[in-house]
Symmetry: C2
Subunit: 350 residues, 2 copies
């Protein structure tokens, strides 16, 4: 099969090239499917992995790519009740999506209703759904459990609010908590403040010109945010503790500013009785990930399919233009998913 | 009534004195009881409160004392099904136990089976049960949920292992997790290593001569401790993160070393996907505390009454010797609860 591989195993975007002779992923073990990839989406971890900087789970294939949409080509065993050959699906994988075929655990596949004319989510855009929406689901529902505490959770802060996960998280929070909840998001420019507030009703804070700690304490009568979703790490660790409400929860998903916090007032953790929890998605077991998928299918999938939740697509490339696509992601101007089309019969307009 | 009060509202142990003319606590609101105090126990927070250094919950009375045993003198309403006038009880209070009478919420009272000759826990010793056992129950069952995760929790680390809460926590952990679980405890001397290991089967580590991080990683094949209960704060914050296992939980209950941790690797929180949760007991709502009480009554009370769990009593004073009792606690030589007898008809031998 054709697949995108990295010259010498690691390197910059120019090291990527299409190999014509990659072996099909095999063998199909019980509970797996071979899916003909229609499209895959790019993620920042793909860049880190390409550069050899991502700590890969031991069972990850060397081919990049963790999310895709496609058509079931083979199943093992072949008489599964949930899926049949020819089904349109999309899903999460531990790797291998930058290819014509991918082997995946069927517990991580979601059916795409290809023949329903009322569906607002395109098959191309579906390739960019799992990573972002599972991560947001994991943070807000699985870890912070806002759906179980919707009476107590009144204020939420999402850092990197204009990121894919941020936009998904804001929509989930609004949907679960209703119109009275206060949703705060940090973004890096006034332009993004405006764009984000048009996409989801929320209070966006430009972290370059405003203190999110001050703004949120002011807006909540010094109560603070009941739930904080963080991607920033060291630079925000103390600020998040200062911002969180009594009995609040801080979920840490990434370390965009680095790992070492210089001074932490752990007394505030005690006094506020708060919970800080670090988490990742890719390193998790399939059974953990499939629990997240179930929550996703319950709380977000119907709204995504109906167009009530949006998963913005920034741009669509042919997979043969993968170097261009990676360089575009590295330029940091995208807002929304970057999709690559593998199946030439699909239109490249999402 | 007689009660112990503090000259000028705050001061050292010598400021304590018996007042003959304190008003009875009133009024009895619905769901409360007036209890004639038989004995109360001392806690370190009493010393802080006496010195004016404890951040009191707003509804706390000025009289010290958060745990007691006694006899129900009055109930409102008087026809409660759970309790009757004359019942022997023990319980937790937000304050006011250093007195002849205390008003308390009946949701925080536990019946003491005074007429059962097989009971191994004395009525005096019962006064020293709630604070320690509720706190250990809160940490291990309510927050770390080891009873719900007993298949995954194999290793536990209890700091301040020879403290009252430490000894209670080790017994609860052993009982819930069974003989194969590895229990680690930090203590401050080789003498305490020996004494603790005789009381509860565990690995006690002298933090003055050994590195608990190294010892626990070595003893668990670098897996680490699934649950850590901390009372130390800043000095152990990073060390706990270095010691906790993948998906482990750290419960912070106190700050014996202070509040400001320098250079915290928050990246390890993410990589280990661990949860850090601060908690306190006294600042909590009665409904929260009563949930802890229910878990205590389910998992620990029967074993305490039968003598299968021990709650060591270090010494017993007459309440008129309160100055001596406080000075004794301040001398830091006690190992076990310090009890003060209010009802002269009770023997002063626990």
């Amino acid at each position: 099969m054709k697949a995108i591989v990295i010259k010498n195993g690691r390197g910059d975007a120019d090291s990527l090239f299409i190999s014509d002779s990659e072996p099909l992923p095999e063998p199909l073990t019980a509970g797996t499917a071979l899916v003909k990839v229609s499209a895959f989406a790019l993620n920042r971890m793909d860049i880190l992995q390409r550069e050899g900087l991502y700590p890969l789970p031991p069972h990850a294939p060397s081919i990049l790519g963790v999310e895709f949409s496609g058509v079931v080509e083979a199943l093992f065993p072949s008489d599964m009740s949930q899926f049949a050959v020819g089904d349109a699906v999309f899903g999460l994988a531990v790797g291998g999506a930058y290819a014509q075929f991918i082997k995946c655990d069927i517990r991580l596949l979601t059916k795409y209703p290809a023949h329903d004319p009322k569906i607002e989510l395109s098959f191309l855009a579906a390739a960019g759904v799992p990573e972002v929406w599972y991560t947001a689901t994991q943070a807000l529902l699985y870890i912070a459990e806002i759906h179980k505490n919707s009476n107590n959770v009144k204020n939420i802060l999402i850092h990197a609010g204009a990121s894919g996960v941020g936009i998904a998280a804001l929509q989930i929070a609004r949907s679960v908590l209703g119109p009275d909840a206060k949703l705060f998001a940090t973004v890096g420019s006034d332009k993004k403040v405006k764009a984000l507030q048009e996409l989801v009703p929320c209070t966006a804070i430009n972290y370059n010109t405003q203190s999110f700690v001050d703004e949120i304490l002011k807006a909540t009568d010094n109560k603070g945010a009941d739930v904080i979703v963080d991607f920033i790490g060291q630079a925000y660790f103390q600020k998040n503790i200062d911002t969180v409400a009594l009995d609040g929860r801080i979920v840490m998903l990434s370390l965009m500013s680095g790992a070492i916090a210089e001074k932490v007032n752990v007394g505030t953790i005690l006094r506020k009785r708060c919970r800080i929890e670090g988490s990742t998605l890719r390193s998790r077991s399939v059974s953990y990930q499939s629990e997240i998928k179930k929550l996703f299918e319950e709380y977000s999938l119907p709204k995504l399919l109906q167009g009530k939740f949006v998963n913005p697509v920034d741009s669509v490339f042919k997979y043969t233009d993968i170097i261009k696509a990676h360089k575009y992601m590295e330029s940091n101007v995208s807002m929304g998913k970057i999709i690559c089309v593998v199946d030439d019969t699909l239109q490249t307009a999402a």
